[in-house]
Symmetry: C2
Subunit: 308 residues, 2 copies
């Protein structure tokens, strides 16, 4: 058997993403020894029952001690505090990374704590589901998905970046490198705005007086239910994302609202041509996403529905 | 074998919905003889190749002649013209219905053409996919979904409503009855607003200068791709829906925008508690939709993704 990429891997936070990494690492033999830390005793015990790692610690510092690769898999709001906690335990030459959905603020919060002899390279796998916790993860989550690394220093160690990239490729991902600010702008449109819009429309429906909740539920297959998946995502994670990526989110929200005002005007004035033009233009993007292997081409997302 | 519910069934428009009815009717023996009309010779020939009916006509009037049940399955904008066309052919005692996504305007457009001895009962099956045409349909589309009937006259024949209800139940649906205006308000929030929002956000992403189209596509699994399904729906159908249900759609758009402004404010001011409160409240609705059997509980809509 070939040598694993990293001798000692520490995962801090063993929820959906952390536990998916643990499973993928085990399935593909990417690390010699896996140490798991979490603030929640319940999650930690569950991880142990599931056999996700080799050692389990409530103390993140202890878990990070001597590791070759440490990945923070907590909500982004915790990154700074965890980095501060583990900094004294990090060994020389270790790689420190994370999986947080925002990058500029994580870099700002983490960087000051990173010892000079440790390689800090922030990252974000573009893969997930609406579920949370150690049971929600699965080994194939990252397959055929992208992972974005966002080194924040010009003189960052190319070899460390390459080792971390190989780790993500080992889990089946493609790797892109970009700067943290650009990451945050891209993710604001492809992820943060969609989640906010989904949360918002579900909230609007929840508040109506003239349409009952039971009607919304019964007839949801006509479109509404598609939004409820994103709107069922973890509240802590998404609160942190909104607080972290405020500027880019506000920019995208502004553009969205402007476009919506124009659409509203077209509806009000019965401008069928303008509506038809927009409704035609938007079809192509789905086709491209399917062709890029990022989406199924089965109708209705391939939801269970017998075909004849 | 028991008698079919209707001796002669005519379907006008053989796209996704018309062809799904044709398949379900055949699979469950709900009609003795099925006549199919469509304005498109290509669709009509395709329907014949697929063996969806017993007779195929370009002339809707000819198709409706002598039928016991006629269902309009064209985009709603065509309902009035088709009703006018077939009115002289409708036999006494026949039931005329439709499947259009809006109801008040369809009733307004169709009712004036309906002979006094014909039962007109508008309807709307709450089931569909983002695809179109005779190949897109399948026999199980209506199973475990709701069909809403919207009789528009107080003295409407109860027996005809019951026969039409039995027809939809025969295809596996549950049937609700409500007035057309209420239908339109309910559908504005559960279907029309979600589609408009989806079209809008995909349009916004398409227009960005700082984020490339290739980035939007590559990283779409982080949320954006969920919106592209609705935004790939038929442009003609959705233009017609917007033109037909303007008032209810504008009302729901107004509420949505108001709520979005409040959310935007919470992001701007970093009000984590308000964000957390909204993000928590919206989770319950998905749970209820899953419990009502209107959605899968598999993560990520059960999109193809190997679970370990
Ligand atoms: N979900 C997605 O689709 C997705 C996709 C890509 C990236 N991400 C990013 O991945 C990260 C983790 O998300 P997730 O979905 O895996 O969340 P999750 O399932 O909720 O797991 C997070 C885990 O971290 C623990 N935790 C929180 N604060 C901690 C701390 N200070 N020290 C140690 N453990 C702590 C949590 O414990 P408690 O339960 O006690 O809080 C929980 O067990 C987030 O930064 C998120 O932005 C998520
Ligand atoms: N799609 C959904 O999810 C869904 C769900 C519930 C209800 N509905 C309603 O169902 C109806 C049909 O939708 P669909 O999705 O089945 O659309 P579709 O797949 O596009 O099929 C519509 C068919 O009607 C034909 N047609 C158009 N105008 C006609 C006319 N004047 N005379 C005869 N045939 C005509 C079309 O031909 P051409 O191709 O030549 O135009 C096409 O073959 C619409 O009213 C829609 O609101 C749709």
């Amino acid at each position: 058997m070939s040598e694993p990429l990293f001798q000692r891997l520490t995962l801090i936070g063993i929820g959906l993403i952390g536990s998916s990494i643990a499973r993928a690492v085990k399935a593909r033999g990417l690390a010699g020894h896996v140490i798991i830390a979490d603030q929640s005793e319940v999650s930690l015990r569950r991880a142990e029952d599931l056999g996700l790692g080799d050692r389990y610690c409530l103390d993140a510092g202890e878990a990070a001690d001597g590791a070759d690769l440490v990945i923070l898999c907590t909500p982004v709001g915790a990154s700074g505090a965890v980095a501060k906690w583990i900094a004294p335990s990090l060994k020389a030459g270790a790689i420190l990374s994370d999986v947080g959905s925002t990058k500029a603020k994580v870099v700002k919060d983490v960087r000051p704590h990173v010892p000079a002899n440790v390689h800090f390279i922030a990252g974000h796998p573009i893969a997930g589901t609406e579920q949370s916790g150690p049971d929600a993860g699965f080994a194939t989550l990252f397959e055929n998905r992208w992972c974005i690394l966002t080194p924040d220093q010009a003189e960052q160690d190319a070899q460390a970046i390459e080792r971390l990239s190989a780790f993500w490729r080992g889990m089946g991902s493609n790797v892109d490198v970009m700067d943290p600010d650009h990451h945050d702008r891209v993710l604001a449109i492809v992820s943060h705005l969609p989640h906010l819009i989904a949360y918002n429309i579900v909230g609007t429906a929840d508040d109506l007086e003239t349409v009952t909740k039971s009607e919304v539920i019964k007839y949801s297959a006509s479109g509404f239910r598609d939004f409820t998946r994103l709107a069922a995502s973890d509240p802590t994670m998404w609160r942190d994302v909104c607080l972290h990526n405020k500027d880019a989110i506000l920019e995208m929200l502004g553009r969205f609202s402007e476009d919506l005002a124009a659409l509203q005007r077209a509806v009000r004035w019965g401008d069928g041509d303008q509506l038809f033009e927009l409704f035609t233009r938007t079809r192509g993007i789905r086709r491209s996403i399917i062709e890029a292997g990022q989406e199924t081409d089965a109708p209705d997302f391939g939801r269970p529905h017998k075909k004849d």
